[in-house]
C-alpha cells in the first residue's frame, strides 16, 4: 500500500534508481526529511501551556513530529517571554510568572518514529508538495551515495546532494521571511524591550 503524499517522490526514485527497493527508499526518505526539517525549520507549530507562579519548567508535547527547537515564547498578551528548552519538550522560564496564564511556545519540528504502518514518515502534506523537488534530490543523493548498489553513482550523488542543500537553504530563507516576497519577519528581540508607563 502506498502513500499518496509520497507517490511522486517514490515513483521518481524508482525510475532513477535501478534496482532500488521501496523499503530502502523509505528509510532514506525519513533521513532526508529529518535533515531537511532540522536545517530549514519550515515545520513550525504553536503549543499553548498554562503557567503558574510557582514553577519554572513546563512540559510541552506536539501533536505530531518531534520537537527540535524553541523558536519563540509569548504570554497571553502576545509579549515575548524569555525561555529555553534544555531538553526537547521541557520549557524553562527565566523568571517565575507573576500570574497564572497561558503561554504559547512556537516550536520547530522534525519527523519522528514511529512512522505510519506503511513505514512512511508523518509530515504535513504542504511540505512535501512545496518542497517536492528538494526532497527528491535528497533521496536520490542519499541513495546514489550508497556503496556497492546497482544505483550507486558518486558523481550524481554529489550533484543531487548539492541541489538538496541549496533547496534547504532556500526553504530556510522562505521560512524566515514567512513565505513572503522581500519581507523580513525578524524583528528586534522583544525580550529586551522595556515597557515604560508615562503619566
Amino acid at each position: 500500500m502506498g502513500s499518496p503524499q509520497f507517490d511522486r517522490i517514490l515513483s521518481t526514485a524508482r525510475i532513477r534508481l535501478a534496482g532500488a527497493l521501496d523499503a530502502a527508499i523509505q528509510y532514506e526518505l525519513f533521513s532526508v526529511l529529518d535533515e531537511f526539517l532540522q536545517d530549514s525549520s519550515v515545520w513550525k507549530d504553536e503549543l499553548s501551556f498554562t503557567v503558574s507562579t510557582t514553577a519554572l519548567k513546563y512540559t510541552i508535547t506536539p501533536t505530531a513530529g518531534q520537537l527540535i527547537r524553541l523558536e519563540g515564547l509569548t504570554d497571553s498578551a502576545g509579549n515575548s517571554v524569555w525561555g529555553e528548552m534544555e531538553m526537547p519538550g521541557t520549557v524553562k522560564l527565566a523568571t517565575l510568572p507573576t500570574e497564572g496564564q497561558k503561554y504559547t511556545a512556537t516550536v520547530a519540528l522534525s519527523v519522528a518514529d514511529p512512522v505510519t504502518r506503511d513505514a512512511y514518515p508523518l509530515v504535513p502534506v504542504w511540505i512535501t508538495k512545496q518542497y517536492n523537488t528538494t526532497l527528491i534530490d535528497g533521496v536520490l543523493g542519499h541513495m546514489m551515495g550508497q556503496h556497492a548498489k546497482p544505483y550507486s553513482n558518486e558523481t550524481l550523488s554529489v550533484y543531487h546532494l548539492r541541489r538538496f542543500r541549496n533547496g534547504i537553504a532556500q526553504a530556510r530563507v522562505a521560512a524566515l521571511q514567512g513565505n513572503t516576497k522581500g519581507n523580513q519577519s525578524w524583528a528586534f528581540p522583544q525580550a529586551f524591550a522595556v515597557k515604560r508607563k508615562w503619566r
Binding site: 534496482g19 527497493l21 530502502a24 556497492a148 546497482p150
Partner: protein, 112 residues
Amino acid sequence: MALNTVQDYVSAARTLLQDVNAERYDDSDFVDALNFGLLEARRLRADLFIGVTTVPSFTVSNTDAVTIDQQYRTPLLYFVAAHVQMQDEEDTQDSRAAMFLQKFTTSMLSPG
C-alpha cells in the same frame, strides 16, 4: 512461473541445468543452494532484508513462499543453479557454474 515458492526455484533451476527429470541432482541439493543463496544475498544486500531478523531457511521443496523482492528473484535463481552445478567435477560444468555465480553477483551489485 513467478519464482514465488521453493518449488518454483527448484523447477526453474532444473530447467537451467537441463535436469527436469531429476536424474542428476536431488531436490535437497536445490533447497540447500537456495538457503545458501539467501545467506549470500543478505551479505551483499542487507536492504533486501529490512525488518527481517533471521534469514529464511527451507528444508524441503514445497509451496513455502520465498519472500524476496521480485527484482532479485532471477539473480537468486542463478545462484541456486551455480551452487548445485559446482558439485560436479567436470570442467565444462565449472565454467557454467562460474558464469551463473557471476550473473548473481553482478545483478546484486550493479545494473548489469
